[in-house]
C-alpha cells in the first residue's frame, strides 16, 4: 500500500459513510423513506454497497499495484496480509487487495448489467403477457415455465462447452438472458391486477395506444415490485457469475473477478486462506446488503403502509 492508496481508501470509507448519513437525513422528511431506514440492516447495506461501488470506480486510485502484474513470484508468493499488502498476496505474488478492487469492477459491473438486462426483459414480457392475456399470455408463460425448469448452470455450462470461452460481453448477455423468468412472473401478476383499475380502463377508453398504456400507465405503477426484484437480481447475477468463474468458465483469467479470485485461491486454501477469504466475504456482503436493501425498499415502496 502506498500513501496515495491509503488516502484513497480512507476517503472512500468516509465518503460512503457520509453519503448514507446524508441520505438518512433527507429520508427523515418523508414517511416512506423513513420506513426504509427503520431497518438497521438497510442503512448498513446501502453503506457497504456505496463503499464497494466507490472502490470499483476508483480502483486505479485505491489499488497500489496492477492487478495482473506479478512483482516477485518467488519471494512474495502467498505473503500474509500486512500493511504493505493489505489482503496479502496470492500464489502468483499478485496483490490481493489490488485484484479485489479491480475485481469489484468486473463483478459489480456484470451484476448490474446482467440484472438490467434481466429486469428489463422480464418486465416487458410480464407486462405484455399480463396486458394481452389469452394466447399471448399462454405462450409467454409456458416459455417462462420452460426457462424456470432449465437448471441454468447446466445450460450455461453447455453454452460454454459448445462455444468455447464466451467473451465478457456475451457472458453478461447470456447470464442476463437466463435470469429474467422470475421477474416476468412477478410483473405479470402485478399487471393483471392493474389492468382492471379505473385509470387504465379510462386510458384505454380514451383510445390511448396499447404501447403507451403499458409503458406509460401500467408499468410506472408496478415500479415497486420491479425495483425490489432488480435489487435481488443483481445479487443473483453476481452469484451466478462467481459460480461460473469459480468453475473456470466465467471471466477469463488473468482478469480478476471475485469468482475467479476464489478459484485461484482454492488451490492454496490451507496455506494461504486470505486469497479466497476476502473475495468470498465481499460477494456475501454485497448479496446480503442487496437483500437488506430490497427488504427496506419493499417496506418503503409499499403503498398500503402510507398514511391515508
Amino acid at each position: 500500500m502506498t500513501f496515495g492508496s491509503w488516502l484513497a481508501l480512507v476517503v472512500a470509507i468516509v465518503l460512503s459513510a457520509e453519503a448514507v448519513r446524508w441520505l438518512r437525513q433527507r429520508a427523515m422528511q418523508h414517511e416512506r423513506w423513513r420506513r426504509f431506514f427503520r431497518h438497521p440492516t438497510a442503512a448498513w447495506g446501502s453503506g457497504i454497497l456505496t463503499f464497494l461501488v466507490i472502490v470499483a470506480i476508483a480502483a486505479p486510485l485505491v489499488a497500489p499495484l496492477d492487478p495482473i502484474v506479478q512483482p516477485d513470484p518467488v519471494g512474495l508468493k502467498n505473503h500474509p496480509p500486512s500493511l504493505t499488502f493489505l489482503m496479502g498476496t496470492d500464489v502468483f505474488s499478485r496483490d490481493v487487495w489490488s485484484r479485489f478492487a479491480y475485481g469489484a469492477r468486473v463483478s459489480l459491473g456484470i451484476g448490474a448489467l446482467g440484472a438490467l438486462i434481466a429486469v428489463t426483459l422480464g418486465s416487458c414480457v410480464g407486462a405484455v403477457a399480463g396486458y394481452y392475456r389469452r394466447w399471448v399470455d399462454a405462450i409467454l408463460m409456458r416459455c417462462v415455465d420452460i426457462g424456470l425448469a432449465l437448471p441454468r448452470i447446466f445450460i450455461l455450462l453447455m453454452a460454454v462447452a459448445l462455444w468455447d470461452r464466451l467473451p465478457f460481453a456475451w457472458l453478461t448477455l447470456v447470464i442476463g438472458l437466463t435470469s429474467w423468468f422470475g421477474t416476468s412472473r412477478l410483473v405479470r401478476a402485478e399487471v393483471l391486477a392493474l389492468r382492471e383499475r379505473d385509470f387504465v380502463v379510462a386510458a384505454r377508453a380514451l383510445g390511448v395506444p396499447s404501447g403507451r398504456v403499458i409503458f406509460g400507465h401500467i408499468l410506472p405503477n408496478a415500479a415497486a415490485p420491479i425495483i425490489v426484484s432488480a435489487a435481488l437480481s443483481v445479487g443473483n447475477v453476481l452469484l451466478l457469475e462467481a459460480s461460473l468463474s469459480f468453475l473456470g468458465i466465467g471471466v477469463a483469467p488473468p482478469r480478476p473477478s471475485w469468482g475467479n479470485m476464489i478459484a485461484d485461491g482454492a488451490v492454496t486454501i490451507y496455506t494461504a486462506p486470505w486469497t479466497t477469504l476476502f473475495a468470498g466475504l465481499a460477494i456475501s456482503l454485497v448479496v446480503m446488503s442487496l437483500n437488506a436493501v430490497a427488504d427496506g425498499l419493499r417496506d418503503a415502496l409499499d403503498p398500503r403502509k402510507d398514511p391515508a
Binding site: A149, P151, M158, F246, L247, V287
Partner: protein, 333 residues
C-alpha cells in the same frame, strides 16, 4: 382431481419435450466442425472424418437428425462419449445416484433445519432469539455455496480434521456400500458436502417460513382462534403453521434447481463422484455429449420435482384443485 393431475402431467411432458428441442437447437447452433467438436481433439484424416459423419448421420437434413435424436432419446440412448469411451447413459448411471444421495441429504438439512428455525423465530417474534437468528440467516443465505464449502473444508477438514476433505468413501475398504461400516463411512464423507449444500438453503427456508407464518398471522381465522382464548402456542403451531406449510410446499419445488446448481459446485470442491463433477470434467474435455445429457437429466429432475410439489399442494390444499390459476398465484406470491 384426476383431470387436474393429468393436465399437470401433460404440461410437464411438454416442458421436457421443449427442453429437449432447445438443447438440440443449441447443439446445432454451435460453431465448429463436427469432427473436431465430437472428439475433442480433431481427426487428421479427412476420409475417416467423412465416414464418421456418415455413420452418425450428421450429413442428413436437420429435421431427419432431430427425428433420430428424439428416437434415440425415446430408447434411452443419450449418446456416446468419445472422451470416456463409453455410452453416456452408463457414465450417468454411475454418477447420478451419488448426486441424488447428496441432494437428498441436503434437502433434509434444508427443510429440517430451515422449518425448525423459522417456526422457532415465529414463536419468539421480534424478541432477541428472533432478531439474532434473523441476522444470521440473512448472512448465511447470502453466502456463495462454493465459498462456504471452501471455508467448511478449511475449518472442519483441515484445521480440526473432523471430516474427510473429499471423496465419497474409502475406495479400498468400501468400493460399495454393503456393510454397516461402509454406510457409516459414506455418511461421514457426506457431512461436509451436504452441509454446504443444505445450509444456504436452510437459511432461505427459515426466512421464507418466518415470513409465511407472519403472512398467515394477519388472517381472520388466526384472530378468531386468539379471540376464543386458545393458548398462543396452539394458535401458532396449529393454525398458523399448518397454513404456512402450504407455501413451503411450493418452495420445495423451487429448491430443486438450486440444489442441482449447487451440486455442480459442491461436487467439484469435495471431489464427490456425482453428475455435477462429471459435467464439469466433461466441459474441460469438450465432451459435449455428456454435458447435454446432464442438462437434459437435470431439467427432467427439476420438472419432476415441481410436479411432485404440485401434487402435494393439490392434496394439501383443496383450493388449488378447484381453481387452476391459484397455483400460479401461490408461486408468484
Amino acid at each position: 382431481m384426476t383431470a387436474w393431475l393429468l393436465r399437470r402431467l401433460a404440461a410437464s411432458v411438454a416442458i421436457v419435450f421443449a427442453v429437449v428441442t432447445f438443447v438440440f437447437i443449441l447443439i446445432h447452433l454451435a460453431p465448429g466442425d463436427p469432427c473436431i467438436v465430437g472428439t475433442g481433439e480433431g481427426i487428421p484424416d479427412p476420409e475417416v472424418c467423412r465416414s464418421l459423419v456418415r455413420q452418425f448421420g450428421l450429413d442428413q437434413p436437420i429435421l431427419v437428425q432431430y427425428w433420430r435424436y428424439l428416437a434415440e432419446l425415446a430408447h434411452g440412448n443419450l449418446g456416446y462419449s468419445f472422451a470416456l469411451h463409453r455410452p453416456v447413459r452408463d457414465a450417468l448411471a454411475d454418477t447420478l445416484p451419488f448426486t441424488l444421495q447428496l441432494a437428498g441429504a441436503a434437502l433434509l438439512i434444508d427443510f429440517g433445519l430451515g422449518l425448525a428455525l423459522g417456526i422457532y423465530q415465529a414463536l419468539r417474534l421480534n424478541r432477541l432469539p428472533d432478531v439474532v437468528l434473523g441476522n444470521i440467516t440473512l448472512f448465511v443465505y447470502s453466502l456463495p455455496t462454493f465459498w462456504l464449502g471452501l471455508i467448511l473444508l478449511l475449518l472442519f477438514g483441515e484445521t480440526l480434521r473432523l471430516f474427510p476433505v473429499g471423496g465419497a468413501g474409502d475406495p479400498i475398504l468400501c468400493p460399495l456400500v454393503d456393510s454397516f461400516y461402509c454406510l457409516a463411512d459414506r455418511l461421514w464423507h457426506m457431512v461436509l458436502p451436504a452441509a454446504t449444500l443444505g445450509l444456504v438453503g436452510a437459511a432461505g427456508t427459515a426466512r421464507f417460513q418466518r415470513a409465511a407464518m407472519l403472512e398467515v398471522a394477519q388472517q381472520d381465522f388466526v384472530r378468531t382462534a386468539r379471540a376464543k382464548g386458545l393458548p398462543e402456542r396452539r394458535v401458532v403451531l396449529r393454525h398458523q403453521l399448518r397454513n404456512a406449510l402450504l407455501s413451503v410446499i411450493t418452495r420445495f419445488g423451487l429448491t430443486l434447481p438450486f440444489l442441482l446448481t449447487g451440486a455442480v459446485l459442491v461436487e467439484t470442491i469435495f471431489a464427490w463422484p456425482g453428475m455435477g463433477r462429471l459435467t464439469v470434467d466433461a466441459i474441460l474435455r469438450r465432451d459435449y455429449a455428456v454435458v447435454t445429457a446432464a442438462a437434459l437429466i437435470a431439467s427432467a429432475l427439476v420438472v419432476a420435482g415441481s410436479l411432485i410439489a404440485d401434487m402435494l399442494l393439490g392434496f394439501a390444499d383443496p383450493r388449488i384443485r378447484v381453481r387452476d390459476d391459484a397455483f400460479v398465484d401461490v408461486v408468484t406470491a
